[in-house]
């Protein structure tokens, strides 16, 4: 049993403890404690029933925690023994789904929901989550315990919202990876589990979107971390296994005729994945999907990306016309404007816009990329 298999059991075990009467916050701590003990105990000998082992050890840890809490408060303790052994009642799937909803509760801020989801549903340690988000472990511990206090009062019975869960998982995926945890892979794992728990084609759309983007991860950056634009990516390095899975998941979702923004975004990603060479990209269909996407998420960023697609489908002047309707304050607006002006033959304007794009870039890789574009055009203009 590897780390991921072990972590898969975490939400189920938390669910069992809560159903036996534990409060969510303590149950979650107890399961983390059991996980830590499993790492050493299972090295010597793996139990025949890992889930049963975790439930037993987590329950004991919970009883210990509750006892010392109770002693501290000098009041009656209501959990004074082992639970009756026997099969676990209730549906583990329902418990796990409730836990997803709880951790992505609308009362939580996005960063708290992300942290709580990674710990209670993903089974990651506080240290791993802190490393992934580049904050001190103590800060992450506080963020998680506050989040637990916010949501823990009602146990697992609070109503949930699959839309907030999807937003949280999308945030986790988009963070990529910075530490020893591949957050994109973890987001895919959790979305895959979620897709088995709820009947919603948008969840499958989100899963497809992640798979199709993850398939291109090896080609998106050069060995030095530099951004490699889609047009220049080595498509032989795309992961065809992930692409076929993503396309299959998407097709099944689209067949159910309940379109939403994640399915539309996945459809765009699928059309890119479909093209053997950049020149083969079906830009006309991509523009059509952007129009669909606008019905669900009419954001400046969607309109900006649509302008790029229009420029490819109908030529740079059409792209610039589409760009005219986009707020210039939108992130990466200068980069798109520069690209379209260069395509349109106006190198001087494009060079100035690339320089502006570099100044306003939200991250270092993007700044370097736009600086190189500006330098390339200025060399041509001066040469």
């Amino acid at each position: 049993m590897d780390d991921v298999e072990l972590r898969r059991l975490v939400p189920r075990v938390i669910g069992v403890l809560v159903r036996r009467g534990a409060d969510f916050a303590t149950a979650e701590d107890a399961v983390q404690e059991a996980l830590i003990r499993a790492v050493t105990a299972w090295e010597r000998q793996r139990p025949s029933d890992p889930e049963g082992w975790l439930i037993t050890v987590a329950w004991r840890a919970f009883v210990d925690m509750a006892r010392s809490e109770s002693a501290r408060r000098q009041r009656e303790f209501r959990f004074d023994g082992e639970p009756t052994p026997g099969p676990v009642a209730g549906s583990g799937a329902d418990d796990t789904l409730s836990l997803y909803f709880l951790c992505a509760h609308p009362e939580l801020t996005p960063s708290s929901a992300v942290a709580l989801t990674l710990r209670a549903v993903g089974g990651l340690t506080t240290r791993q989550i802190a490393q992934a988000y580049l904050v001190p472990e103590a800060t992450m511990a506080q963020r998680i315990s506050r989040a637990k206090r916010t949501v823990g009062r009602g146990g697992l019975d609070r109503p949930g919202d699959v839309a907030t869960v999807m937003r949280v998982l999308y945030l986790v995926f988009n963070e990529g990876y910075t530490g020893d945890v591949d957050l994109a892979a973890e987001a895919i794992r959790l979305t895959r589990e979620l897709s088995g728990l709820v009947d919603d084609p948008e969840v499958d759309g989100l899963l497809a979107l992640m798979l199709l983007h993850h398939a291109r991860r090896r080609s998106r950056n050069g060995p030095d971390g530099r951004i490699v634009p889609l047009a220049e990516q080595d498509r032989t390095r795309w992961d065809t296994g992930l692409i076929s899975e993503g396309v299959a998941v998407l097709q099944a979702a689209l067949g159910r005729d309940r379109l939403g923004e994640y399915q539309a975004q996945a459809a765009i990603a699928a059309l890119h994945a479909d093209a053997e060479r950049f020149e083969d990209t079906d830009w006309v269909q991509i523009v059509e999907w952007y129009d669909e996407l606008l019905r669900f998420a009419d954001t400046p960023i969607t309109r900006l990306n649509r302008a790029v697609a229009v420029g490819e489908a109908d030529g740079a002047p059409a792209g610039l016309a589409a760009l005219a309707g986009v707020d210039p304050a939108t992130p990466r607006w200068e980069a798109v404007a520069a690209f379209l002006h260069e395509r349109n033959g106006d190198l001087a304007t494009a060079a100035g816009l690339y320089a502006a794009a570099a100044r306003n870039a939200p991250n270092l890789a993007e700044r370097d990329h736009q600086s190189r574009q500006a330098a390339r055009l200025n060399q041509r203009l001066n040469g």
Binding site: S111, V135, A138, T139, N363
Partner: protein, 135 residues
């Protein structure tokens, strides 16, 4: 989920409203100021928004490479340097609004007469990692 640097300047920021230098405060005013700063950091730790906080000595020097095989050249400190950083706090917050709110609170630290200093703090967003979904 964005990191911001809250920069405090010895020199170079616009003048604070309650602009009395610290060496002219009473001891209890100094104590109250230090307490406020400690409480502020502790509050950020408790809210899960604290990343780092450091103070810098006012005197430093300029250093540059001076060619292969040679030791680096040092110079300064230059008394006329316009901008002098006193220290910083790094926060990890959900929004720009929250960063501004916290900087405003930090700027309200008490100074002379126990009144808020209203000092200007520089708030600078960190450049981030590129997002996974970029096209």
């Amino acid at each position: 989920m964005a990191k911001y640097l809250l920069l405090k300047h010895y020199r170079g920021a616009p003048a604070a409203v309650n602009n009395v230098p610290m060496d002219q405060w009473t001891p209890s005013e100094v104590e109250a100021h230090i307490q406020y700063m400690n409480d502020f950091a502790a509050k950020l730790e408790a809210s899960g928004e604290f990343v780092d906080g450091q103070a810098l000595a006012p005197d430093g020097m300029w250093v540059r490479h001076d060619g292969p095989g040679k030791p680096p050249v040092t110079d300064g400190p230059f008394a006329e340097t316009k901008d002098l950083i006193a220290g910083w706090m790094i926060i990890d917050v959900d929004s720009r609004e929250r960063a501004i709110e916290l900087a405003g609170e930090l700027s309200a630290a008490p100074g002379a007469n126990g009144e808020p200093i209203h000092e200007w703090l520089e708030v600078r967003p960190f450049l981030t990692m590129p997002p996974t979904v970029a096209d």
